[in-house]
């Protein structure tokens, strides 16, 4: 009993004498992460979560074999090695729940900032909460252009938005007609001129649909059909019939996972044979897309921000992808790569701010430049706009278009655009189902 009392006293004395040590060990920086972990976009949610958790792991431990500044130190160096702690929440695709969770993270969990939320509709309500509380939010994966047009002071977005992604598509089609695509001779414009688009009708898909219409006019394409559909719809045959009636050269889609798969299966059953089949990311690049459709996905194009082929042109992407594959069992996807980059941006901002005060973080966000070579995604870097129309938008982001191709037994997403980064010859026209 006496021995125990002595030990306790000694422990107390030690704790009093070396408070710095005790503090350094306990120091943590809480980041609230809100993703759709259940509901229609649960598959993407799992990817996002795994991406953010890998970035956290790299930030919190020194990893000599990763060529990234955040892998050199264990924790945030400017904050005495403080570790990043993620507090994960599931918004189920519900904007109201997202806002409630943001309040909980800010007021109850006292997070330094927020990362999320994938669905543009949820990001909007969460950003409004952050704005009211004056808490910084970095958005990694919502692509509605409206988000950076609201003039928020506490909102920054790393990913390019749909405006840029859709413009990439039209640049790609134009380049295809000019013979710029790798391994394909100049395609007569007449073959591609007629377009048909089907976008799911939430905030995101509606915006994509409007952007497609705008760029089709600007690039002088003929958008013969531009319809909206419900992502939860159990049957898409009427929509597909309407698309086929337009006899398009290229079919364009904005779909989440289950509707992207249903759309493809319906196209297959109706023997659709467009020259180009393009999807606006999301469902078209979820791992389930290839997993479910198998060979039927070969030749399909999707805009993305990451394919494992990026490793061929970027060493650090390969290093992180290998780690991810070891942990999760498959390659990084556009969703996980963007979540990784979002949390990475948080780490660099905290290093620059050397503080967890919201005002200091705000200042750091508005002045930071993260070089492109630090990132897994093939962007020129991260720098947020502080003036103009798109306040808080990363101006150094860049989209890509990938194409599913069969290499041996495996289906991989090869880079088709930008043309100078193309990793293999483009498969044109779409080989059919």
């Amino acid at each position: 009993m006496r021995k125990l009392a002595w030990l306790t006293a000694a422990a107390l004395l030690a704790a009093l004498l070396i408070p710095g040590l005790a503090l350094a060990e306990d120091k943590e920086i809480k980041i609230g992460v809100i993703y759709p972990l259940t509901g229609g976009a649960a598959a993407e949610g799992r990817e996002l979560r795994a991406g953010a958790e890998l970035a956290q792991e790299i930030a919190n431990s020194a990893m000599a074999d990763i060529d990234m500044a955040m892998a050199k130190n264990a924790g945030i160096k400017a904050l005495g090695g403080a570790k990043i702690t993620l507090i994960l929440k599931d918004h189920q695709g519900n904007p109201q729940l997202g806002a409630d969770l943001a309040k909980k993270l800010i007021e109850d969990d006292k997070v330094v900032g927020i990362l999320g939320c994938y669905h543009s509709s949820v990001t909007k309500t969460v950003a409004a909460v952050c704005e009211r509380f004056g808490v910084p939010m970095i958005n990694d994966s919502s692509t509605s252009p409206a988000l950076t047009k609201a003039g928020f002071k506490w909102f920054w977005r790393t990913t390019p938005h749909d405006d840029q992604f859709t413009k990439d598509l039209f640049e790609f089609l134009k380049g295809l007609s000019e013979g710029k695509a790798k391994g394909v001779k100049a395609v007569p414009m007449a073959d591609l001129k007629t377009l048909a688009a089907a976008c799911e009708k939430t905030e995101w898909g509606t915006n994509v649909s409007a952007t497609i219409k705008r760029y089709a006019d600007e690039y002088k394409f003929d958008l013969a059909s531009n319809l909206l559909y419900a992502a939860k719809s159990p049957d898409l045959s009427a929509e597909v019939q309407s698309l086929l009636a337009a006899k398009p050269g290229a079919m364009l889609f904005a779909s989440y996972t289950s509707d992207a798969i249903l759309m493809m299966k319906t196209l297959q059953s109706m023997k659709a044979a467009p020259k180009i089949l393009w999807g606006q990311d999301a469902g078209f690049e979820a791992p389930e897309f290839v997993g479910t459709l198998g060979d039927a996905s070969v030749g399909v194009l999707t805009r993305t921000v990451f394919t494992p082929q990026v490793a061929q042109v970027k060493k650090v992407s390969g290093q992180v992808n290998n780690l991810y594959k070891e942990k999760v069992g498959h390659d990084l996807s556009g969703a996980s790569a963007r979540a990784f980059t979002g949390l990475q941006a948080w780490v660099y901002v905290l290093e620059k701010a050397a503080s967890t005060k919201p005002e200091d973080i705000q200042k750091a966000c508005n002045s930071i430049t993260i070089p492109g070579e630090e990132l897994v995604v093939p962007w020129n870097g991260i720098k947020f706009a502080t003036q103009g129309e798109d306040i808080g938008q990363n101006v150094l982001g860049m989209g890509m278009i990938g194409q599913y191709q069969k290499k041996g037994d495996k289906i991989t997403l090869e880079i088709a655009y930008p043309f100078d980064l193309a990793t293999t010859n483009l498969v044109y026209p779409f080989p059919g189902f």
Partner: protein, 339 residues
């Protein structure tokens, strides 16, 4: 005068019920002063919102026995009226809310008149259809922001009572609590009113009610309008509380079903039923999502348990939790439960 007397007349409830209700009200009044997390506050706000939705639904679904699964359309009309008036013409909440309520009630007359020619399941299906059609229209109507919806700009100075913009949730809480009390008093008057008795007669046997000279069609339309007014007010509140609305959020079928489910689970056709339903389901949904959700890596399990509890209550007592209470009381009295 008669209505005010009726609103304050709770004498037909046992003393135990009134004591419990008084204790619950005292708790609700003091809640913001008690130590609580902001998530608990958000959950309480949801509880009050769904209680009000449920009280409204109870007039048509409970007292009149017409299972309405299209209430979200009126929530949408209320929310959109407030948002459009605020965003486009800078009109305060206290003006836009009654306008939204009037528009929703007007729309309910237009919809209700033909719909109440239908009965039973046909009526329920028709309410779903009208709600979904309106949602589809809003999704392509540019004036209301189409599928992107509307974002209410945050005012430079908070709190702002005119526009219902606050940094802290307890302001919203007390405004909702005031509406909640008004709702209970109104419903208490409603169940004692001529219309209340007529509706219960229609629910028990419509043909007999008609033979007694009750205009069943008109009674149902009136009850439908009352239900609509409740839902539209909450819709207006929702727009200010969330700062952002879009059709999928305020007019979804999920919301319509949830409103009906909470009232049915608590006990449709009773004054306390919808409140009990919301008090069980709202915290259950919120907290199970939080405890068994993302943090524990068991996401999805909360939804399975949530669904299981709903099925269990529905199987054990189709008349909801209040039905169970009444059954126990009837057994003690040695008689049958009152219907």
């Amino acid at each position: 005068m008669e209505a005010i007397k009726n609103a304050l007349d709770f004498s037909d409830f046992p003393r135990l019920d009134l004591s419990l209700a008084g204790a619950v009200f005292a708790f609700l009044l003091l809640f913001p002063a008690l130590p609580h997390s902001s998530f608990a506050m958000a959950t309480m706000i949801q509880f009050l919102m769904f209680s009000l939705y449920g009280m409204g639904w109870n007039t048509i679904g409970g007292y009149a026995g017409q299972v309405d699964l299209g209430k979200a359309q009126y929530n949408g009309i209320g929310a959109y009226t407030t948002a459009v008036m605020m965003v486009r013409w800078d009109v305060p909440f206290w003006v836009s809310m009654p306008v939204g309520m009037a528009l929703a009630v007007g729309w309910s007359f237009l919809i209700g008149y033909p719909l109440f020619r239908l009965k039973g399941h046909y009526f329920s299906i028709a309410t779903i259809a009208t709600s979904l059609v309106l949602k589809d229209l809003f999704e392509v109507w540019d004036f209301v922001g189409a599928a992107t919806g509307l974002q209410i700009p945050i005012r430079s100075k908070l709190p702002d009572f005119l526009y219902l913009q606050f940094r802290h949730d307890y302001y919203y809480y007390y405004i909702l609590l005031a509406l909640f009390v008004v709702g209970i008093l109104y419903l208490n008057a409603f169940r004692h009113s001529r219309l209340g008795f007529q509706l219960r007669a229609i629910k028990d046997n419509e043909d007999v009610a008609k033979s007694l000279g009750i205009d069943a069609h008109w009674c149902k339309i009136k009850a439908y309008a009352v239900a609509t007014a409740f839902v539209a007010v909450v819709g207006s509140f929702h727009a200010c509380y969330n700062f952002n609305i879009e059709p999928e959020d305020v007019m979804s079928l999920d919301l319509s079903v949830l409103i009906a489910m909470m009232a049915l689970l608590g006990g449709a056709g009773s004054l306390w039923g919808p409140i009990i339903g919301a008090a069980i389901l709202v915290p259950l949904k919120s907290y199970m999502g939080d405890w068994l959700g993302a943090a524990s890596g068991l996401e999805g399990l909360n939804l399975i348990i949530y669904g299981g509890i709903i099925m269990l209550i529905a199987a054990v007592q189709p008349r909801g939790v209040w039905g169970m209470v009444e059954a126990v009381r009837a057994r003690r009295r040695g008689g049958y439960a009152a219907s």
